[in-house]
Symmetry: C2
Subunit: 109 residues, 2 copies
Amino acid sequence: MIVRNVRSRARFRDDKMGKADLFASARLFAGLNAFEPGQEHQPHTHCDRDKIYVVLDGEGEVTIGDETSRIRTGDLALAPADVVHSLRNPGPGRLVVMIVIAPAPPPKT
Amino acid sequence: MIVRNVRSRARFRDDKMGKADLFASARLFAGLNAFEPGQEHQPHTHCDRDKIYVVLDGEGEVTIGDETSRIRTGDLALAPADVVHSLRNPGPGRLVVMIVIAPAPPPKT
């Protein structure tokens, strides 16, 4: 499977962070999170799952455990399994990140 | 863990494709492959492991199963578990790709 210009698959929403799936198997989930200025992904953890953020466009403020850091296009952040993490877009531009989670989270019911 | 400017971690070699590790756990491996013009990663498979390529810089020719395609900066290619795949840099520029494999391959002995 080839996905051209991955960041163009981002889906923004006015009311909250937008999500777009790229690929999912039991082993791995890949998708995009899209943040308008001021939007955020609230603190959460993934039980027994590692997560990578790759910033495809823009600049964000990521918190992993008790560490908060600015990340921008071309940077990567890793949230190891069971470590609380969050991401917000302080603006003024849009923010697009690719996320990879392994193993993939269970389907939402 | 934060990695600034991921593509700057690429390590090129004169004799063959260069590799650099970014992160490894049992669940997930992330790293960089760096290709000088003319270098390639020979056809291979990962048993029970999915693999993602994300092109960070340059242009390459990827083969997944019986499909060969050009991919360039910002594109993603997925090689599902047990599907033969390869990647080469036809040149003239350098090629840097991030790879994510889940679950992680066993350590080399």
